[in-house]
C-alpha cells in the first residue's frame, strides 16, 4: 500500500506539473509533492523495519532493508532539493535564463525523475529496473539541457548517448541473466524477479553469469560514473541547473550503484565473491585515483564537485567490492553521507554561482563576507566531503580504510594518496572562494539555506553518533549484501 503512495505521488506530481508547472505556485506544489512522497517513504520504512522484507503486486515490487534505506534517502534528498530549487529557480527566471515553458518542463521532469528512481529501487523485476533507469536518463537529459545553451546541449547529448549505449549493454546482461535463469526457473515472468533469482542463484550457470555481470557492470557502471566510463558525468553536472546536479550526484549515482550491487549479490551466489568483488574493487580504485588527480585542474566549481562525486562513488564501489559486514556497512553509510553532503554542497554552490553570475572559481571570492551562511555552508561542506572529522564522511572512510588495511593492504596507499591529493585540490580551490575580499551581488529572492545546514547537521551527527536503529538497519542491509 505504502509502495503505491511512494510511487503514486511523484507520478501524479509529474503529470500535474506538466499541466500547471508554469504557475507562480508551481514550485510550492513541487515541494509539496516531494513532501508527500517523503511521508509515504517514511511510512514504508517504518513498516519494513517492523515487519521485515515484503513483496507486493504479484511480487512485482519488493522491499528489503537495502532498498528501503535508499528509498528513504532518495525521498528525503528529493524533498530538500525541491525546497532549495524553489528560490533557486525563481532567481534563475529572474535572471532571465528560463521562461515559463521551461519551468513547467523542469518541474514535471523533476517529479518524473524521482518517480523513475523510486520505481527503479522498488521494482522486483530486473527488467523494469532497467526500464526505470533508462527513464531516469531520459528525464535528466531534458533537465540537463534545460538552458538550451550550446554547452548544455553538448553535455546533454554526450550524457544521452553514453548512458543509453551503456545501459543497452546492461540490457544485454539482463538478457543473459534471463537466459541463464530460464534454464532453472523455466520460461515466464518470474525468472526476472530478484526474489526468485536469489533463491536459485547458486544453481545458475557460472559462465553465462560471468558474461552477464560484465555487461551489467559496464552498463550500470556507466551510470555510476566509474572511470573510464565516467566521461558524461562532469559535463552533465556542470551544465545542468544546480538542483539537478544535486540530485544527479546525490541520488542517481546511488540508484545505479544499487543496481550494480544487486547484480553482484546475484552473481556471487554462482561464482563466489572474488570475481565480482575483484572487478568492483578495481573499478573503484581506478575511479578514486583518477578522479583525485582530475580535481586539481578544474576551473568550473560544479565540474570539480562532479569529479569529487566520481571519487566517492569509487570509494563506495571499492567498499562493496571488498564485501564483508564492515565494508558493506561502511559502503551504505558512505552512500548516505555522500548524498547528504554533496547535495548540501551543491545547494551552497548554486546560490554562490547565482551571486557571482559565474561558475568559474577564479571569479568567486569572499563568500563569507557577503553572505556568511553560503560561505560557511560551502566551507564546512567541502571539509566534510574531504573526509574531515567530525563529519560522517570520515566515519565511513575510516571503516573502509581500516578494512582495506586488513584485507587488501596493497590498496591502501593508493586510497590514501588519492585522498591527500583530493584534499589539496578541493580545499585549495574552495578556500579562496570562501575567504578574502568579496565581489558578490545581492539576490532578488532570499536563498534557501536551511537544507544545507540540515544536511550538514545530519552528517555531523552521523560522524559522532550513529543511532542504534540506523545501525540495525544498516546491519540487515549489509548482511544481505554480504
Amino acid at each position: 500500500m505504502e509502495i503505491a503512495f511512494v510511487l503514486g505521488f511523484p507520478l501524479l506530481g509529474g503529470l500535474l506539473l506538466a499541466l500547471v508547472g508554469h504557475k507562480r505556485w508551481a514550485p510550492e506544489l513541487n515541494a509539496l509533492m516531494s513532501f508527500t512522497t517523503l511521508v509515504a517513504a517514511a511510512a514504508l520504512t517504518r513498516r519494513v523495519i517492523t515487519d521485515g522484507p515484503m513483496t507486493a503486486l504479484q511480487e512485482q515490487f519488493f522491499v528489503d532493508p537495502f532498498n528501503v534505506f535508499l528509498v528513504a534517502l532518495t525521498a528525503f534528498v528529493g524533498f530538500t532539493t525541491a525546497l532549495f530549487s524553489r528560490p533557486y529557480m525563481r532567481i534563475e527566471e529572474h535572471h532571465g535564463r528560463l521562461n515559463t515553458a521551461r519551468l513547467r518542463l523542469y518541474h514535471s521532469m523533476y517529479q518524473m525523475f524521482s518517480f523513475t528512481m523510486l520505481l527503479c529501487l522498488l521494482s522486483n523485476n530486473i527488467g523494469i529496473l532497467w526500464v526505470a533507469l533508462e527513464g531516469a536518463t531520459l528525464a535528466t537529459v531534458l533537465l540537463v539541457s534545460l538552458y538550451r545553451t550550446p554547452a548544455s546541449l553538448e553535455a546533454a547529448w554526450k550524457y544521452f548517448i553514453l548512458c543509453s549505449v551503456g545501459i543497452a549493454q546492461a540490457l544485454f546482461g539482463i538478457i543473459l541473466l534471463y537466459f541463464a535463469a530460464e534454464k532453472v526457473i523455466g520460461p515466464g515472468g518470474t525468472s526476472l524477479l530478484w526474489t526468485h533469482l536469489y533463491e536459485v542463484r547458486d544453481q545458475l550457470e557460472p559462465t553465462v553469469l560471468s558474461l552477464a555481470f560484465v555487461f551489467l557492470l559496464v552498463g550500470f557502471g556507466t551510470k555510476v560514473g566509474l572511470v573510464p566510463l565516467h566521461n558524461w558525468l562532469p559535463d552533465a553536472h556542470a551544465e545542468g541547473p544546480t538542483p539537478v546536479s544535486a540530485v544527479l550526484s546525490g541520488l542517481l549515482l546511488n540508484v545505479a550503484l544499487y543496481a550494480v550491487v544487486r547484480s553482484k549479490v546475484l552473481v556471487d551466489g554462482a561464482l563466489g565473491r572474488n570475481f565480482s568483488g575483484g572487478l568492483m574493487m578495481g573499478f573503484g580504485l581506478l575511479s578514486v585515483v583518477v578522479a583525485a588527480f582530475f580535481l586539481s585542474r578544474q576551473k568550473d566549481i560544479k565540474r570539480m564537485f562532479a569529479y569529487s562525486s566520481i571519487e566517492h562513488m569509487g570509494i563506495v564501489t571499492f567498499a562493496f567490492g571488498m564485501g564483508g559486514p564492515v565494508a558493506a556497512f561502511a559502503g551504505l553509510l558512505h552512500m548516505t553521507v555522500h548524498s547528504l553532503t554533496k547535495s548540501a554542497i551543491f545547494f551552497a554552490v548554486g546560490h554562490a554561482t547565482q551571486k557571482t553570475g559565474t561558475q568559474n572559481m577564479a571569479d568567486i571570492r569572499g563568500l563569507i563576507e557577503q553572505s556568511p551562511t553560503i560561505g560557511w555552508g560551502l566551507a564546512l561542506g567541502s571539509l566534510a566531503i574531504l573526509g574531515m572529522p567530525p563529519f560522517g564522511v570520515f566515519t565511513s572512510e575510516f571503516m573502509v580504510l581500516t578494512t582495506a588495511m586488513h584485507e587488501h593492504p596493497w590498496a591502501t596507499p593508493f586510497l590514501l594518496v588519492a585522498l591527500g591529493v583530493a584534499f589539496a585540490a578541493i580545499f585549495g580551490k574552495v578556500q579562496p572562494m570562501v575567504f578574502g575580499e568579496t565581489n558578490l551581488r545581492r539576490l532578488p529572492h532570499p536563498p534557501a539555506l536551511v537544507p544545507v545546514f540540515v544536511h550538514l547537521a545530519l552528517v555531523l551527527i552521523l560522524g559522532v553518533y550513529i543511532p542504534p536503529y540506523l545501525v540495525e538497519w544498516y546491519r540487515q542491509a549489509a548482511a544481505f549484501i554480504g
Partner: protein, 220 residues
C-alpha cells in the same frame, strides 16, 4: 514446419541481420541507413513470428506486432521526417575508413562467436548460433556509433543496437516478459522523440549536426 526447419529459418534471418549490420557499418547515405534499419526491424519481426509459431508462446506474437509497429513503421517514418526537415543526405567521411572498419567488424564477429559458443551449447535447441550473432551485431552497432561523425547515424546505430538486443531476447530466450518489452519499447520511442528534438536544437545552436562541433567541454 518442424523445429529444424524453423530453426534454419531463424538462423537464416540471424545471418541476414548480421549482414545488415555490416551494411549499415559500410553505408554512408543516411536515407539508405534508415532503409537498412527498417529492414533490420522486418527481419526481427519475422524471426519473432517464427519463434512464436514454433514455441506457441502467445506473448511472442504481441512482441512481434510491437516490433513491426515500432521498428518497421513508426521509427523509420520519424527518421524520414527528421532528415527531410533537417536536409541531411550524406554522412561525411567516417573517422576510420570503411575497409578498416569492416576488418575490425569481422574481428569482432569472430570474438563474439568465440564468446558465445560455450554458452550456446546450453541454449534451447531452436537457437544455437543466434546468441553469438546477436552479440556480434550489438558490438557492430557499437562500432558504428564510434566511427560515425554525424548525430543522426549515431542515433541509428543506437537503435540498431536496440534491435540486436531484441533479437537476442526473442531468439535466445523466447522473449522477455511482455511488461518488460513494453517498457523497453516505450523508452526507445521516447528516446527517439527526444533525439528528434535534440537534432533541431543542435542544428540551431551549431549550424550542423556534425558532432565534431561538440568538443568544447573537456579538460585542458
Amino acid at each position: 514446419m518442424d523445429h529444424s526447419l524453423s530453426s534454419q529459418f531463424v538462423n537464416l534471418l540471424a545471418a541476414f541481420l548480421l549482414l545488415l549490420a555490416f551494411a549499415m557499418l559500410a553505408q554512408r547515405r543516411v536515407l539508405t541507413l534508415i532503409k537498412l534499419f527498417a529492414w533490420q526491424g522486418a527481419a526481427l519481426t519475422a524471426s519473432t513470428l517464427i519463434m512464436a509459431y514454433a514455441t506457441g508462446l502467445g506473448h511472442l506474437y504481441s512482441s512481434a506486432a510491437l516490433t513491426l509497429l515500432l521498428k518497421v513503421i513508426l521509427i523509420p517514418w520519424i527518421l524520414h521526417r527528421l532528415i527531410d526537415r533537417l536536409q541531411i543526405r550524406w554522412d561525411i567521411e567516417t573517422l576510420i575508413n570503411i575497409p578498416t572498419t569492416m576488418l575490425i567488424g569481422i574481428g569482432l564477429v569472430i570474438f563474439a562467436f568465440s564468446l558465445a559458443t560455450p554458452i550456446s551449447q546450453m541454449a534451447s535447441g531452436l537457437t544455437r548460433a543466434t546468441l553469438g550473432i546477436a552479440m556480434a551485431s550489438v558490438l557492430l552497432s557499437f562500432l558504428m556509433m564510434i566511427v560515425r561523425r554525424k548525430a543522426v547515424p549515431q542515433v541509428i546505430g543506437f537503435l540498431a543496437m536496440e534491435n540486436s538486443l531484441f533479437f537476442a531476447a526473442t531468439s535466445a530466450t523466447y522473449g522477455m516478459p511482455l511488461v518488460v518489452e513494453l517498457g523497453v519499447a516505450l523508452d526507445v520511442l521516447v528516446g527517439t522523440f527526444i533525439f528528434g528534438i535534440f537534432f533541431f536544437h543542435i542544428r540551431d545552436e551549431f549550424e550542423s549536426l556534425d558532432i565534431g562541433n561538440m568538443e568544447k567541454l573537456k579538460e585542458d
